[in-house]
Amino acid sequence: MNRQKLKKKLPQIVVNVVVILAIVLWFLPTLGLLITSFRPASDVAYSGWWTALSSPLKFTQYTIENYQSVLSSGGMLTAFRNSFIISIGGTVIPVFLAALSAFGLSKLNFKGRGFFYALIVMMLVVPSQMTFIPVLRLYNKLSLSGTFGGLWLVHTGYGLPFSIFMLHTFFQSLPDELFEAAHIDGASIWTTFLRLAIPLSVPALASLVIFQFLAVWNDLLVALIYLGGHQSVAPLTMRLSSLVGSHGQDWHLLTAAAFVSMAVPLIVFLSLQKYFVRGLMGGAVKG
């Protein structure tokens, strides 16, 4: 009897152990970062963060100095503003365009749509680094370099292939009968898209927004190249990286900076997660 119970439960236990191990492994570096961010610079230089664990309740060994110097360093507010401008534009535009094109590619019948879809998916393979110089040249001619609009376009370009791919797969899974019914009821293509496809794809859109927002928010290289690093346009990532000296001095500040920078994506993720889950459940119940 007991043995049978155990036999039934064994796979469950194995799964749990593996999941817990994975969580611990993934969480460990973040924990180290968190603890380091609260330790004074001199301690950081001489001992590892785990030494703080030997007496975790000794509060004198912690300090909020790192956070203070990160937040009070000049231009932080501008950097936050710039990051928001860049990330919101760099997320809304590609997600909107991707929804339109993925809908067209999966639900409208026209000649060569398989070809166009394949072409877009092929673009996933092009490394963005290859495009920097030619695109930047073009930007200089059009005087788009150093502008937020230019950067939105770049993020749109780099984000579209994956976004279209992801939404296309999702739209494909929606039953064609739904759209045929809408058509028979007299809905135009635009109405079908807005009233039927978009509401049905909220879970997919939410996860796409999370992906794209994270990618743009955390981007340093693309912004450096197309925007330049001047303070008035530099996003948070650039501002934070300039806290560290050219030989890596003051790197302890980076740990606190990392948490400051993580705060916004975390809020975005947590607030969108609700829609993400609700969208999934809604679909399940309606069948």
Binding site: G89, I133, L136, G229, S241, V244
Partner: protein, 421 residues
């Protein structure tokens, strides 16, 4: 509905485009500085703006080589930028990206304020393409003045005197040198600095440049000679504390501690200016400049004079605008360099700098040494391709100190060099 969405987007786009339009009376500059360095450089820029009314837009990034190359290739380099080093400078000149500074600087700066050694360093193919804004020096021998005085040792100014001093130390029962080559994955760089310093003094700056550019092979007798002079010390248990085994296994930051024991286990240590921070970490009570001081690495062959090995901040101009020219002239001036030297303890290259601005006597002494040097050269291993300068050269010195035959070691490095240049 459809139309209104597009209208909103196009309005947003136009708004965004108009935000970043460039203004006049502005110099754009790209550099690697962050943190404390950036704060010091901001003071330099503010002083320039206060003086001329021209604003400086500074872009700081630690990925400078990549970013600068991309921007040059795309045709919108910054007006002024810090250059990664002499090798990069030459590449940019070949690409036609840099402005010849002979047409930019005032005659007074070129002829009086900046020493010839710095002009020579920024010169390539008959043009002046880089300003040395500040320097760090490496050709320093650290010692304890009190111990030297108690034993009657005198600071050597030539290699013959140095050899006599080493023998005198050995006869007295002292060990002349402390050397530590261990530095994790970068183990060996301390030895490459030694060999570069010797090479500069035995073969001269011209041959040194040929060696760095691999125009002479590693098996050249002059390279061999430099290795042998180093080997005479590092492979000899009389001359170096602990012998080759200790040399190989001691961390570069720990080896200076042998000078500070009582009685000292070794009398001299060759290392760049930054070693003071290692001394203070291990012995916080030591007064740098009193308990521990330095003298310049002595000259070996008089005809090559007293060169100085080091590194520095090189600045080049990419766009020929009057604002950029004004900024370059300001950076070359004593006024700008005094701010930089005062805040960061770096050594300025303008000889009109008031020595009082240096943060301490030690830095003042280094500035004096630097001014007296006839020739300045960048750390050669930094200018070689990474496979050699940050690979085979390091490894080769370790093999050599470990007892390998010199001909084998040099052939090993040469083989790697042939593939990498």
């Amino acid at each position: 509905m459809k139309r209104s969405v597009f209208v909103v987007f196009s309005v947003l786009l136009v708004l965004a485009l108009s935000l970043g339009a460039s203004a006049q009376g502005v110099v754009t500059m790209m550099g690697v500085w962050g943190g404390q360095e950036l704060e010091a450089f901001e003071e330099v820029m503010d002083a320039f703006t206060a003086k001329t009314g021209i604003k400086v837009q500074f872009e700081g990034t630690r990925d400078l080589p990549t970013l600068l190359q991309t921007r040059i290739a795309a045709g919108n380099p910054p007006d002024v930028a810090a250059l990664p080093g002499p090798g990069a400078m030459k590449e940019y000149v070949e690409q036609g990206a840099l402005v010849d500074l002979n047409g930019v600087f005032d005659a007074k700066i070129l002829n009086e304020d900046i020493n010839d050694a710095w002009i020579e360093l920024g010169t390539y193919k008959d043009g002046l393409y880089a300003l040395m804004f500040a320097a760090d020096i490496k050709s320093l021998v650290w010692y304890r003045p009190a111990e030297f005085a108690a034993r009657g040792y005198e600071i050597p100014t030539t290699w013959a005197e140095m050899e006599a001093l080493m023998d005198k130390m050995v006869a007295n029962g002292d060990t002349p040198w402390a050397i530590g080559l261990e530095s994790g994955a970068a183990s060996g760089w301390v030895a490459t600095d030694w060999i570069e310093d010797i090479m500069l003094r035995t073969a001269g700056p011209d041959v040194y440049d040929q060696w760095v550019d691999h125009e002479i092979p590693w098996t050249d007798p002059r390279v061999q000679e430099a290795f042998e002079i180093f080997g005479k010390i590092a492979r000899n248990s009389d001359y170096v504390y602990g012998g080759p085994v200790t040399v190989l296994s001691t961390n570069f930051g720990d080896s200076v501690a042998e000078l500070l024991t009582d009685p000292p286990r070794a009398m001299m240590h060759r290392q760049a200016s930054f070693v003071t921070s290692f001394i203070l970490d291990a012995n916080p009570d030591v007064v740098i400049g009193e308990d521990v001081a330095f003298f310049g690495f002595p000259m070996i062959k008089p005809e090559h004079g007293n060169p100085m090995l080091g590194a520095g901040d090189m600045i080049g101009q990419f766009n020929d605008t009057p604002e950029a020219a004004a900024f370059m002239n300001f950076l070359a001036s004593a006024e700008a360099q005094e701010i930089w030297a005062n805040r960061l303890g770096k050594l300025g290259t303008n000889n009109k700098i008031n020595p009082a601005v240096y943060p301490d006597d030690l830095t003042r002494d280094m500035a004096r040494l630097l001014n007296e040097a006839d020739v300045f050269r960048f750390d050669g291993s930094d200018s070689m391709p990474a496979a050699v300068g940050a690979g085979a050269f390091w490894e080769g010195t370790l093999m050599y100190v470990g007892g390998d035959d010199l001909t084998d070691v040099l052939e090993f490095i040469e083989n790697v060099a042939v593939d990498s240049y």
